[in-house]
Subunit: 216 residues, 2 copies
Amino acid sequence: MNTLAEENYLKAIYHLSLSDANVSTNQIAAALNTKAASVTDMLKKLADKELINYEKYQGVTLTAAGEKIALQIIRKHRLWEYFLVEKLNFKWDEVHEMAEEMEHISSVELIDRLDKFMDYPKHDPHGDPIPDRDGNFKKHELKPIASLAVNEGGIISGVRDHSATFLQYLEKQQLTIGKKITVTEIIDYDHSMILQVEQTTIHISREVAKNLLVAI
Amino acid sequence: MNTLAEENYLKAIYHLSLSDANVSTNQIAAALNTKAASVTDMLKKLADKELINYEKYQGVTLTAAGEKIALQIIRKHRLWEYFLVEKLNFKWDEVHEMAEEMEHISSVELIDRLDKFMDYPKHDPHGDPIPDRDGNFKKHELKPIASLAVNEGGIISGVRDHSATFLQYLEKQQLTIGKKITVTEIIDYDHSMILQVEQTTIHISREVAKNLLVAI
DNA sequence: ATTTATTTTTAGACAAGTCTAAAAATTTTA
DNA sequence: TAAAATTTTTAGACTTGTCTAAAAATAAAT
Ligand SMILES: [Mn+2]
Ligand SMILES: [Mn+2]
Ligand SMILES: [Mn+2]
Ligand SMILES: [Mn+2]
């Protein structure tokens, strides 16, 4: 099929194209912790395979075939993360690196059976949607808490930053997926916010508020 | 740690050294479907890392460090095979190729939790023992059915040939792990054997009898 | 509209792993 | 025990994926 490196490039391009339709060489290099020259080399290979649309200096987009592969890898990544948390009792900040390896296990039958074994979960431990075998998923409409006004609220349903440190912080503050929150006050000076989370009151910085997503 | 290729070489050397203490270049090449020249190159690298004892033209043995790595990989292979059969309902002839990929997932914590999740199985779906986290396992004393005399018998506990065709044949004949068999007749002409397996009588060739193992 | 800065691509090199063909060592056979 | 057959190693080449340094193209600033 495709090599491990190719799969990682396609996945990175997919994620980057959610913010910018056209993805630049430097963006990919940063995402994959590699150098721009290496990216250019790989882009030529992926273009030869018709997995991306690439014209020199113009950035890239995924073709339908490339996007399909990217979504299969994301499906596998998120299903394995769900498995690690729900079946093996890992914490949500511990699973990403393992899933980075497991997402490359090739068998489609395996991942479909894993999906069934876990009763077709719709979201991974970080709230991200899990594509079905055909790559379909409904993208949830989430807003950062930072965009809410006083007295507005919602259900915590996702994060914008997946780093272990951020996830651990949220865990400690009990700001986990499924919790209902309401904004009770916004501090003028630094735009930090005071939230009501069930019985308790929590004060979060604007930085945190921008990276924590709620469904209204 | 070690590359995927290195892990595959160490595992192959381990398996081969069960029949021959000293493993030859050609044996490894055959096992890994590669060429003798490629094997020589890799043997130098593994010797540099002190994972094997290697002297030109003399064949190789694993060092303690090399054997430890090989046993970790075998542990992972067999635990994943058990998972695929017991949790995802694959058949015993379907799991080997998937496990060949999964055995390279690196996390030790993951495999220890998987082990616990499945309640510490002692044998994989083919009857092979699963090493514990320290690489320890008790090697079962099994005999090929071909070595039995009339009226002798035992419990089917392993196979010498792991090919899908052989496993499928056994499945169809109900000659699966755990079944009690007794030899009722041995045909002089071709050394084929007639077995009593629970209520039924089954006639197997010498070829089959040599590859099917029983605990007495 | 040039100059300057940034981004991207090319050129050339390197490591890992593999291959074929040929040479060297070992084993077998006569 | 010397010739023949087999096994193993070396030599040289190729692919994939990466890198640094330098050139080319694009974007930003004067
Ligand atoms: Mn992840
Ligand atoms: Mn995730
Ligand atoms: Mn196997
Ligand atoms: Mn097995």
